[in-house]
Symmetry: D2
Subunit: 413 residues, 4 copies
Amino acid sequence: MGLKGIRTALKVDLNKPAREQKGLHNRWHPDVPSHGTIANNEVVKIECLDWTGGQIQNNDSADDVRDVDLTQIHYLSGPFDVETAEPGDVLLVEIQDVQPFEDQPWGFTGIFTPENGGGFLDEIYPKAAKAIWDFEGIFCSSRHIPHVRFAGLIHPGILGCAPSPEVLAEWNRREGELIATNTTGREVAKPPEPRNVHGGSADEELNVKIGREGARTIPGRPEHGGNCDIKNLSRGSKVYLPVHVPGAKFSVGDLHFSQGDGEISFCGAIEMAGVITLKFTVIKDGMAKMAMKSPIFRPGPVEPQFGPGRYLTFEGFSVDEKGKQHYLDATIAYRQTCLRVIEYLRRYGYDDYQIYLLLSCAPVQGHIAGLVDIPNACTTLGVPMDIFDFDIRPETDAVKMDMGSCAFASINS
Amino acid sequence: MGLKGIRTALKVDLNKPAREQKGLHNRWHPDVPSHGTIANNEVVKIECLDWTGGQIQNNDSADDVRDVDLTQIHYLSGPFDVETAEPGDVLLVEIQDVQPFEDQPWGFTGIFTPENGGGFLDEIYPKAAKAIWDFEGIFCSSRHIPHVRFAGLIHPGILGCAPSPEVLAEWNRREGELIATNTTGREVAKPPEPRNVHGGSADEELNVKIGREGARTIPGRPEHGGNCDIKNLSRGSKVYLPVHVPGAKFSVGDLHFSQGDGEISFCGAIEMAGVITLKFTVIKDGMAKMAMKSPIFRPGPVEPQFGPGRYLTFEGFSVDEKGKQHYLDATIAYRQTCLRVIEYLRRYGYDDYQIYLLLSCAPVQGHIAGLVDIPNACTTLGVPMDIFDFDIRPETDAVKMDMGSCAFASINS
Amino acid sequence: MGLKGIRTALKVDLNKPAREQKGLHNRWHPDVPSHGTIANNEVVKIECLDWTGGQIQNNDSADDVRDVDLTQIHYLSGPFDVETAEPGDVLLVEIQDVQPFEDQPWGFTGIFTPENGGGFLDEIYPKAAKAIWDFEGIFCSSRHIPHVRFAGLIHPGILGCAPSPEVLAEWNRREGELIATNTTGREVAKPPEPRNVHGGSADEELNVKIGREGARTIPGRPEHGGNCDIKNLSRGSKVYLPVHVPGAKFSVGDLHFSQGDGEISFCGAIEMAGVITLKFTVIKDGMAKMAMKSPIFRPGPVEPQFGPGRYLTFEGFSVDEKGKQHYLDATIAYRQTCLRVIEYLRRYGYDDYQIYLLLSCAPVQGHIAGLVDIPNACTTLGVPMDIFDFDIRPETDAVKMDMGSCAFASINS
Amino acid sequence: MGLKGIRTALKVDLNKPAREQKGLHNRWHPDVPSHGTIANNEVVKIECLDWTGGQIQNNDSADDVRDVDLTQIHYLSGPFDVETAEPGDVLLVEIQDVQPFEDQPWGFTGIFTPENGGGFLDEIYPKAAKAIWDFEGIFCSSRHIPHVRFAGLIHPGILGCAPSPEVLAEWNRREGELIATNTTGREVAKPPEPRNVHGGSADEELNVKIGREGARTIPGRPEHGGNCDIKNLSRGSKVYLPVHVPGAKFSVGDLHFSQGDGEISFCGAIEMAGVITLKFTVIKDGMAKMAMKSPIFRPGPVEPQFGPGRYLTFEGFSVDEKGKQHYLDATIAYRQTCLRVIEYLRRYGYDDYQIYLLLSCAPVQGHIAGLVDIPNACTTLGVPMDIFDFDIRPETDAVKMDMGSCAFASINS
């Protein structure tokens, strides 16, 4: 009678290379062996490494960000079989809590170079940079971005069930087609990559197969969610996930202490290692019942609330910085909106990289405002004024302060 | 001592053709004559027609939507000179209230054909359709979309200051370039249109000039906002607008009783005629002080609040309905997100056009979730569950109901 | 097809004495003649005078407050018969909107002398005082309390159905008993008062009876709500009211542009004349079905939201200002809490009467925190910091400003 | 560089009697020896026992509740000296997090008999009863109150600085006076109690003195807060506490996973042992600067938000259940409001004790609505409908369910 504590379905070892831990894997593939079974309606804790598997240090140089090996990431925890789950079911995952490790109360936000990962504004801000965030309970602050402090909207960046062979083949088909027809001069998608594949407890032969066929953990995909980077999947959320293989083979990772809509600097969340508490419930035949093609969720009731009137909101339109008119392009519009914020906050003494980092990880609200008045898409970006310890209202004159610097790389490759 | 009522800066006549009313105009041009002067710090009421200038009727046919003459719209109220405003200033406009006319408590939402206006999903839903909404205080409901009722997030779809000749020329240049290079087979922008131009109190010669050069009121534009269709510009908002001409020449119109993020069906808001109460304050040299290129705003404190946990939120990614992978395209992702909602709500007996209309006008939250995990942009669309009078939670079985029909056109052209 | 405007069930005349208007009455009595019938599920507008029936002027003297004739108030609109309503039913009243009259955009807050009405802090603040509030859309501000501005949480102070003869008799019994045993030296309840009774369209004989038996409109009472002064009965609220007589005989009045929890200065709300839009639905046998003895309500979704972290909250305990310990007395505790706020805000230059007025009418949150740790009740009072245009956070030094004065009476009787 | 984890200023031992742990104490007295020093601006973790020091078991009998030894409680953690704090300063305590112990994820709510502790409704509900709550991340549920589940508004019930000798003398004077003049027939306050006093590391002589003079930890008191039981002192709150002795001698304890306004069943919160993370900042001369007599606080931004329209709110007035009219008595009014909720929820099959427990610990909102309309105080109690997994709206017929039972004592003493 009474709980003795919640079972931990996976413990990770922060002092051991991620690739040597059998409960982790870094590709989506139906054949990655299960790392244990979870009962229907069970609550478990699952430990997770940060998305790089420990490649980033708590220091003042961004050399580590510049040199991150992206063939390795993300190390996900799992996959776990959930009892009774079958293809066509929906797996209801309730996110009951997310916490950093008690003895590692810090995280990081990074700006990647265009050569290695890139980011939403990398043509304008091509240097590698980094901010370290210290956690004080539910709050975080950074020596690299002074005068800012906020409560984290803590969440996992990645969660989802394994693809079936058919779903995986479709992913490889359509992303391969994009790569094949690419004329942009930049990397447009990440094909299967045999280097540094880690198939959990797969034997060598299976590991090779997973490397050859397995989908990368970048990006999120409609059939299962995966790396969706939705900041609102925080404490208390209920996520409804399509099941494609027997047992569901659920994986989770890439924990974020906080993130802004868009996660614009790519490694834009406050990335951390930690523990997630989840409850699993199988809804039989859920995909047909809910007409579900992509995940659905309900946020929890405890999101930080600033009040609608405490957001300073910026508008952006699909005219790029060279004056070129684009057609209803919300991506371009959101890029412009981000630039408007940078121009505004720069007046207080921040350098642009600090703001770029901040916009990526603070709980900013990025909305699609209008998408039908040709040719301009309009997007908005709401910055909660209360994350600053000074007054950023437009009617108050901006006073330049000494804002120090974020961490940069010694040489930007 | 004490107020005797707020001055009405413009009265409109609902029974007189819009084109005959001198306080209205339907193009953006620096030379549209001012319709009176507003003092710095003054509060005024301004009456507005609906965006079509009265072309839509409260009936059960969408023939009027199908046949709307888009060369005429939008009829804006103004322009008004604001005392002391000069180019380079910022005009702070506080939206103190928006109300429908007391004796006309209804509005409409329309789906336009691809041949005339189109919409975000017009390839899939090409028919003209309409829903009439009845206003009961702050709430609205529609005989064309049963079992739905919600409080309006009332706001103006269009507000802004007149462009300078230079700004206008730039608009015409870049939009003209888009038109000139268009290979999409569909209309991509709206060039100046001499037909049906209404320059307010302009004489005939000036009217011709305005028709030749004046920018259309579709779309919004970064330099002044204009037709930005931001649902959160509601009661209590403070909007900071760039001033480009002496006196600012402020105009407003296109009142919406409610709108969802994206306004996806084009005439997607609940369109209405009514009265807006505004306070005007000039911030001298504000554009330089705030480093402002596009409008900024702060929402008011009274937005309808459902609680974060009362949204059912759908995910969408930049893979289109034919399985084609697009590169970080938030517009495609949002289209997919909308389709996911339609598939979900269809199970209750709504037809797709009803849902398309509903998504356009109910206060749905459209967020840009992730924009950096190549190649998939991820967007979310949160539907407030409390706008329905039945339970739409995924764990409750969907029961099909008789949902009647929205209004369709007799023949879809 | 379609609405032509909502029916106005009662128009009031601001230029005619309240006592001469047949749609008004100022006592609760089952025999007050009905002023028309409302259909089940009908939406109507009802005009209301301010609670004094026009005794207060928009000027800078509180003589009118000092001299208010309390035998006359409140002039309520109604009563209205609602079709099909019978004793034992519940009348669901949805408050769809509340608005001040367009040509009378102002209201007042008053402090009454102990000799005439009194107030929560009248032993400490015995002078008559007044603040006039100007309405600008949803906002209000006062020349008598500078540097403050907020959105109104607009609501009716009084609404309810008529008592049955039995209910009325019980009211007179129990309140009479309190009066009969009163040893406090102050007025403790208001017995029936024949002077200035206004029974609507009652003939003289009936009017006399109503004066002899009818319950005063001060206070609210458990059996029907009445003068409950609940600030959250604002736009969008659904109120469930017990029905005691055939037709329900519903009345409403005492409109408030805003009020704080407790309405502490007695005439503490921002009192106004205006229009309320209501929808009426009869729930048959509702009292038994809901086990209802007193009204229940659900607030609407549009209350001003400041965010939980934007309240500065004060604690108070049931030890009075003379150091006397009281036993779990929440009334004493709340009085102390109010005094703590006055002491705090006084530092900015406000005089105590200004703060007393402000606490009465601004949307302050008064909570019962703890009621069981003998002998101290603990209450809290949360002041939304964003109603001030200066920074009231405790970590910011208070700077005294010239705050002018509220209106006082020439001689305090 | 970088944090290695936050220092734990006090560890408690759950397997050792509370009275043997030197970092705990159970009286307020200036001479309780300090248990270590905290730097100005330091963040520390402090472990706390539950308020009974471990007297309650996770089982299905309320015998332990019935027999709790109230001379022992509360065991507080501390006192801690804060560097530089002097009498007259204000100690700003930021509550950065509160967590239950990981291996003890449960808590309890109790109803005490009138003979031992009592409660707000003990005349009506005199039996000892108990509910055990299981914690699943941020949520809790109870086998003793089925169909209910909610996110905890986690907070400390007690925090404060030690009284000076003068303050302590005043407490003893005024509470002694209340006891001396008590004619109610029930215990009205708790005088100093030598039995079971635990003065932390005090030697025997000092312990005797503390027992003779020290103030009990029931109730909260205006001069320092203490046992204030304010549910909103949750994560992210900033509390401003008066300092009365050198070093402040801060203590904290009585952690609550959740509580409703009023904590009506006395042991009404969900009581638990756990860890609190606090940041301490000394504001020199703060009491004079802030005109502070009692604590002030700002809630944090992460309180569970249900949306204003998701509360079902009950009204209560100061007429007691025997029909007696009381004069502006908010305590009586709140008692009536609680009874109205019990009558309402009973219809679903809950017994009254279950509802009494639930109202005590769920995040219900207890407001003082009106306090000036003689003779009725009006209070409201808002129940968040979303804590139930069934529909409690009034328009839905109540269906009785099998709700099991809370834990009762075998014999109620």
